[in-house]
């Protein structure tokens, strides 16, 4: 059973287990500090495909199949696959699951998709509607760049606040029974828009959503920041993380000690010249399913909060003068 304990938070009484997880990343990500924690590092970011959109969906499919293999499960043992990505009509997900024989629910939460999918999967399993669910997401630098910004060969300069979209995918397999870290609480975010219009400053656009969800989580669960070994955000990057920790302090929650951000972890910010850090669904996806999941398995982390943030940005609507709405979803994971 799931118990609603607040306006935004659900406590899962029979918490689902993260049975296994797989992460595949691109060439540049494979040169970063977390290179040893990924299951596979691509040698060619095209994956042999003719278009970047196809490359991304192949990346997603390979990650899903790898996760199944690692969990020793077959496709017909999975009740749902929840997947999404950044591309229009979620083509990354739709073309990756096309070849799978698993009931599918498509999600769009921009870069928050990893925790959005784990939230829904957690409640599905906790509510008894499913035994095993896969949570899958990806992003690809080349397909994102062409959809959201400039052509790849275009000679523009990135501003200091710009973030680098991670080429990577993560897939977590959740089950009702088994050994492993469990999802105990789910806090669902609201769409928050503080009027940021700069599409090269996603961290600043997403930070208010992160603050809103995180405050709601602490207030509704009665937990404190110190209850967690780590509070992991998705891709706030350098600027967004700075804003989050500072404004959370004003809200009365000191997360400076245990806050980490996937966008800051995945790259060596200075050496790899990624300006404000990594971003994209695949950022939280690959860092959580790669590095963090392994740390949980080794019991180096006991209890963590994972909160991926998404900038729900459409370049066309931003051109029309609109600002960038954002969202953040949080899940508590306990060993």
């Amino acid at each position: 059973m799931n118990t609603r304990i607040g306006r935004q938070t659900v406590k899962i009484e029979n918490p689902p287990v993260i049975l296994d997880a797989a992460a595949i990343v691109g060439v540049k990500e494979g040169q970063g500090p977390l290179r040893d924690s990924f299951d596979k590092i691509l040698t060619d970011d095209t994956l042999g495909e003719k278009s970047w959109e196809k490359s991304e969906s192949t990346l997603q499919r390979q990650t899903a199949l790898l996760a199944l293999e690692k969990a020793h499960l077959k496709q017909n043992e999975i009740d749902y696959i929840l997947a999404g990505d950044l591309l229009n009509q979620c083509v990354g997900a739709h073309y990756s699951v096309r070849d799978l024989d698993i009931p599918f629910l498509g999600l769009y939460g921009a870069c928050s998709t990893m925790t959005e999918s784990m939230s829904i999967a957690g409640m599905l399993i906790g509510g008894g509607g499913a035994q095993r669910v896969m949570c899958l997401t990806s992003s690809h630098f080349c397909s994102s760049e062409r959809q959201f910004r400039n052509p790849l060969e275009y000679g523009g300069q990135r501003t200091p606040s710009a973030q680098w979209t991670v080429t990577g995918a993560g897939c977590a397999v959740l089950g009702a029974k088994g050994d492993g870290p469990k999802i105990t609480h789910v806090t669902t975010g609201k769409v928050i828009d503080k009027g940021v219009t700069d599409i090269s400053n996603m961290g600043a656009a997403m930070a208010p959503a992160a603050i809103d969800t995180l405050s709601a989580h602490f207030n509704e669960t009665g937990m404190k920041p110190s209850d967690y070994d780590m509070i992991l955000t998705g891709d706030l990057g350098v600027i967004g993380s700075d804003i989050l920790t500072e404004l959370m302090l004003k809200e009365g929650f000191d997360i400076r000690r245990n806050h980490r951000d996937c966008g800051k972890l995945i790259f060596d910010i200075e050496k790899q010249d990624v300006h404000a850090g990594g971003s994209g669904c695949g950022c939280c996806g690959s860092v959580f399913c790669g590095y963090i999941f392994k740390e949980l398995k080794r019991h180096n982390l006991k209890k963590i909060l994972v909160m991926a943030t998404g900038a729900l940005m459409n370049p066309m609507v931003v051109e029309q003068g609109e600002s960038i709405p954002a969202i953040a979803h949080a899940v508590t994971i306990e060993n």
């Binding site: 691109g26 060439v27 540049k28 060619d44 970011d45 095209t46 970047w52 630098f141 080349c142 760049e145 400039n150 052509p151 790849l152 060969e153 275009y154 000679g155 523009g156 300069q157 080429t167 700069d198």
Partner: protein
């Protein structure tokens, strides 16, 4: 000497573009449009021609030079054809540049493919 003048004037025009990008958050596409239109009007005010005579390629290679060329074409066409020149002048003078951009652009697009970035 003309080479030094070209370097300094061309460099300065680019530096102005850089200030516009950094200070106003104008996207590069808008910078291109701004520079071309600016070149047209500077020539209309007879400011650009002296700069071209002074700095040569330093004034013609930046996109303001493209605008200067458009304006000069309009002046020439109007003096030769009257009213009709308003319509033919711009394209006549820029025909070589635009055709080259399209032809080479097309050929390069056919031959090469976009590559992943690191």
């Amino acid at each position: 000497m003309i080479f030094l003048k070209a370097f300094i004037v061309g460099g300065l025009i680019c530096a102005v573009g850089q200030i516009l990008i950094d200070k106003t958050k104008l996207t590069p596409a808008r910078i291109l449009v701004t520079f071309v239109v600016l070149g047209v009007f500077l020539q209309l005010l007879r400011v650009y021609e002296p700069l071209v005579n002074f700095a040569g390629a330093g004034a013609t290679v930046p996109l303001t030079g493209f605008g200067y060329n458009l304006c000069k074409g309009a002046a020439k066409a109007v003096s030769e054809q009257g009213f009709l020149g308003i319509f033919t002048g711009g394209f006549t003078s820029s025909a070589g540049g635009i055709a080259a951009a399209l032809i080479f652009g097309f050929l390069v697009s056919v031959i090469f493919r976009s590559k992943p970035k690191k």
